[in-house]
């Protein structure tokens, strides 16, 4: 026990004396969170919109007014041809266009189901999807309003069945606030980086400068070396978690709905996987540079396969299967659940169990691979 405390004392001394380490731990996360958080949120707020109204009826003007009255969209121009729309999107002038066909108002009054055309720049799939969601929401509301008016006007008329619109309500992220969705993900990334990358780097650094060899000729037990090396980063990961939760609350006004204790407990289980990977990386690399390279390789794989950028449902089936071996996938899901829905323990079990099993497997394997001997 004493030995572990001395190892931790030494590690903290070193961390707090290394400016780069401090900035990786305390400054970089803030910046990453602010940049990622705000970049993503402003994008989906002011979607630049082109309007093409072939109808020019009072109905079409009413629809367009609905688009003017939300800060989701910013109307950047009017076009009278598809060529014009194509041009505007190509020149990055507009991200989306709404096309109201001729006779739209008249057809709607007659009870036909005229269609409005929405054209989205799909280059940024995330924004495109969200913007499309807003736009269909606005149109759906409008459609219901028209329906209600018609019912009021002719109470005796039978409502044709096909006009009843199924509404897929957003239950949790009510406003489809992208920060709500992204921030928990960013939190996952940050604590993964700090626990995996920094623990790997710190272990390999001791190899590189030769102090690991010196530690290996002491009577330290293997588990003492490992705990002494990873506990500091476990603690730092929790400090980091605290910091980002505070930032989320005060800068993005995002409070987690669920329990903080549950969040902390599950983070602890997740950290077995990342710290285990940190140890593993340190056993297969000889220099800090190699460790950095291998860590980023793992990180990129884990992030891409976690549903952070690309929703898992949108992946090809083979890749979807691969995501099941990624501990980050489970924790990403768990974090979003706790953040947004306040899910409780029993509802998280189905992700919690595989996450913990993988975590412990990785951890055990790495600990066994770490030898108190050279070569």
């Amino acid at each position: 026990m004493q030995q572990i405390l001395y190892l931790m004392w030494k590690e903290f001394k070193q961390v707090f004396r290394t400016r780069e380490m401090l900035s990786i731990i305390f400054v970089a996360p803030m910046i990453q969170m602010l940049v990622l958080g705000f970049a993503i949120s402003t994008e989906v707020k002011n979607v630049s919109l082109i309007i093409t109204d072939f109808d020019r009826s009072s109905t079409s003007r009413e629809i367009l007014r609905a688009f003017e009255h939300t800060d989701r969209f910013r109307i950047v121009g009017y076009e009278s041809s598809y060529r014009g729309i194509d041009n505007a999107i190509h020149r990055w002038h507009a991200q989306m266009a709404i096309v109201i066909p001729p006779n739209f108002g008249r057809d709607l009054q007659r009870g036909l189901q005229p269609e409005v055309l929405l054209i989205v720049d799909g280059l940024d799939g995330n924004t495109a999807g969200v913007a499309l969601g807003y736009a269909t929401g606005i149109l759906r509301q409008f459609g219901q309003m028209v329906l209600r008016q018609r019912m009021l006007a002719r109470p005796d008329a039978a409502i044709p069945v096909h006009q009843v619109v199924a509404e897929d309500r957003m239950w949790y992220n009510l406003d489809l606030q992208p920060e709500q969705y992204m921030i928990p993900g960013i939190v996952v990334l940050l604590i993964t980086i700090i626990s995996m990358l920094l623990s790997a780097m710190s272990m390999v650094r001791e190899k590189e400068i030769g102090t690991m060899e010196q530690l290996m000729v002491t009577p330290l037990k293997r588990y003492q070396i490992i705990l002494g090396k990873i506990l500091p980063f476990l603690i730092l990961a929790f400090v980091e978690l605290g910091i980002v939760l505070v930032v989320a609350q005060f800068i993005f006004s995002i409070r987690i709905v669920g329990s903080y204790a549950l969040l902390a407990g599950l983070a602890f289980l997740y950290l077995f996987a990342t710290l285990g990977l940190g140890i593993f990386i340190s056993t297969i690399t000889q220099t800090q540079q190699q460790a950095m390279f291998v860590s980023w390789f793992f990180l990129i794989f884990m992030i891409l396969m976690s549903g952070f950028f690309i929703p898992i449902e949108n992946m090809p089936p083979l890749l979807q299967k691969i995501t099941y071996i990624n501990p980050m996938r489970y924790f990403m899901y768990i974090m979003r659940e706790i953040f947004q829905k306040g899910s409780t323990f029993p509802f998280l079990l189905k992700d919690l169990v595989p996450m913990t099993v993988f975590g412990l497997l990785i951890f055990t394997f790495s600990v066994l691979k770490f030898q108190k001997r050279l070569a």
Binding site: Q3, Y6, W9, M216, V217, T218, P219, R373, L374
Partner: protein, 245 residues
């Protein structure tokens, strides 16, 4: 005399390359045993097997009465080791390095303070206790490394090229320190490729391409090969084993 280190046909291969080839050797308690050899002769590999850092491929060895095959943890409690590369924490102060190793070896707080005082005195580093290790001159770093290796008062100390890279004056004073350490009753196992340093040892072993080609007190070796310095002995031995090969 009691034997501190004993090896019998100790061998280590890396793949098909034999770095240490059937070395048989006895080192006695309280001795300064010098271990000579050109670059790549296998000195570090032999020390690493004796300190439990590498498993031997074949052969037997006992250190402080414990077997390297099954009792390396017991050995580790009884040896000090200064590796060939300087390997203390450069971003801790000299004193913090000592405190750290004291804690690692399980010394109590008061014991650590006591040993620190004794060792700073022993290696002459008191004025630099609070200095960051990276700012110390190399000669002083090596004294600090010796202090760390002696902190838990081990009976046997392995020093792998402790004087490489420092000027002759610093080498001279480090050897004084080695003598003073031997006077505390410790066995010192010192590798070097400076032949003048060989003259200071009680006994030397000369290694060539993994084989131990001569062992004995410097005076006796010089007489045996009819040379006036260890340098000449070494060169003569080298040539004869090249011819044999």
């Amino acid at each position: 005399m009691n034997i501190s280190v004993q090896t019998r046909n100790l061998t280590r291969r890396f793949g098909r390359f034999t770095a240490v080839d059937r070395v048989t050797l006895d080192v006695y308690e309280g001795e300064i045993f010098g271990f000579l050899g050109a670059n790549g002769a296998g000195k570090t590999t032999l020390i690493r097997m004796l300190t439990g850092l590498l498993k031997p491929t074949e052969g037997e060895a006992q250190v402080a009465g414990f077997d390297v095959w099954g009792q390396s943890e017991a050995i580790k409690r009884r040896i000090g080791y200064m590796s060939q590369r300087f390997s203390l924490y450069e971003d801790l102060t000299a004193e913090e390095n000592l405190t750290f190793y004291g804690g690692i070896y399980g010394l109590r707080r008061d014991q650590i303070e006591q040993r620190k005082a004794i060792l700073f005195e022993h290696v002459g580093l008191q004025p630099f206790a609070g200095q960051m290790t990276r700012d110390l001159p190399l000669g002083f770093k090596q004294r600090l490394a010796l202090a760390c290796a002696l902190l838990h008062d081990p009976p046997i100390v392995f020093l792998d090229e402790p004087t490489s890279g420092v000027d002759p004056k610093a080498r001279r004073s480090f050897w004084n320190l080695i003598y003073q350490t031997a006077q505390l009753g410790k066995t010192l196992f010192v590798t070097t490729h400076f032949m003048d340093e060989a003259e200071y040892c009680h006994r030397v072993g000369i290694m060539h391409m993994g084989r131990m080609i001569a062992v004995g007190p410097p005076g006796q070796l010089k007489r045996q090969y009819d040379k006036s310095t260890m340098q000449e002995v070494f060169i003569a031995l080298h040539q004869s084993s090249e011819e044999a090969a």
